[in-house]
Amino acid sequence: MNPRAQVQLWAAKRISAAVLALCVTVHLATMIYAVRHGLSATAILDRTQGNWVWAGFYLLFVLAVSVHAPIGLRTICGEWLGFNSRAVDVVLAAMGIALAAVGLRAVWAVFAS
């Protein structure tokens, strides 16, 4: 991978990190609210179903984490497992896409009624 591509990968990690910083803060606050008020499945789905704002929020969240996690795993594979070939990059990219797919299914699950 040339220097340009590597800087782009680093930048993608930092940008996704900044997006996730916002998403995670909101998510943690939401989760604490949810358990504090003992929300049931019905109560949760009442809030998320048909709600474009929540759907948009979680869509952004899923996409950001699907970029962020594989890049992190790539570094760990290289440094701790000694795997740093093009094949590893391809596998991790595929894992990122798979994660996004499962994540988008989850977003749809709580949005669609």
């Binding site: 991978m1 040339n2 220097p3 340009r4 590597q6 800087v7 782009q8 990968l9 680093w10 930048a11 570094t75 290289g78 440094e79 701790w80 740093n84």
Partner: protein
């Protein structure tokens, strides 16, 4: 306080073992004093490096009780209050023999990081007047006292995990040159310090900053390189 120090010293190359010696304890004794005593009185075949013995040259750096230090500036009292000392060569560098390591890869990486001056003027040009208090000059000054002792390099896990990683000293030097208005290395140097082997592999463990005997912060320099390479990328110069 005991009157003898129990010293274990690495003997051999990459393969070898620790040997045990008993050294009399003296006031204001440094670890270099201990190593010198062992070589002169107990084990003439012990190989070790030193030069100035007053904390100016960086030649005597070794791993003392697991931590990379200048042995001439490390008082035995401070690191071995119970009289137990373990001395080994610096980590992350091949061992030539006993306490001497091969510094070539350390300096090769310095060159690979383009950590050398690219002049712009000639001898016929007037001397450049460098203002001492600009942000760039302060950034350069924060890192130029490096004497290449390799304590930071030996302390860095990324150097241990990634054979190509240029390391804190080389990257620190590259950053000082990026901030030197007389230097023309610019984008070529930024390309050289980018990527998996460059500044982007630094995970801010800060062991380099923690251990540098000159109190330089290579982590700060590397953060500067990260910002500079990002700017170059966005400006299409990388």
């Amino acid at each position: 306080m005991t009157d003898k120090i129990d010293v274990t010293v690495w003997r051999g190359t990459e393969q070898g073992e620790f040997s045990h010696y008993s050294v009399p304890r003296l006031p204001s004794q440094t670890v270099l004093d201990v190593v010198t005593y062992i070589q002169r009185r107990l084990e003439p075949s012990l190989a070790y490096r030193f030069a100035c013995r007053v904390g100016m040259c960086g030649s005597c750096a070794m791993t003392v009780n697991g931590v990379a230090r200048w042995t001439c500036r490390t008082h035995v009292e401070k690191v071995a209050p119970h009289g137990v000392l373990e001395i080994a060569p610096l980590a992350n560098l091949p061992v030539i023999r006993d306490l001497v390591c091969d510094m070539r890869s350390f300096f090769d990486k310095w060159v690979r990081a383009k950590g050398y001056f690219h002049p712009t003027a000639t001898r016929t040009d007037p001397i450049v007047r460098v203002h001492p208090v600009t942000p760039a000059r302060r950034a350069a000054d924060a890192g130029i006292e490096c004497i290449g002792c390799a304590v930071c390099y030996a302390s860095c896990d990324v150097v241990a995990w990634n054979a190509d990683y240029l390391g804190p000293a080389a990257l620190n030097r590259a950053w000082t040159l990026m901030n030197d208005e007389r230097d023309s290395g610019g984008d070529v140097r930024l390309a050289a310090v980018s990527g998996d082997a460059g500044c982007h592999a630094c995970h801010t463990q800060m062991s380099c900053t923690e251990r540098c005997p000159k109190k330089i912060a290579p982590t700060a320099a590397i953060a500067g390189l990260k910002r500079a390479t990002l700017v170059a990328l966005l400006a299409g110069r990388l």
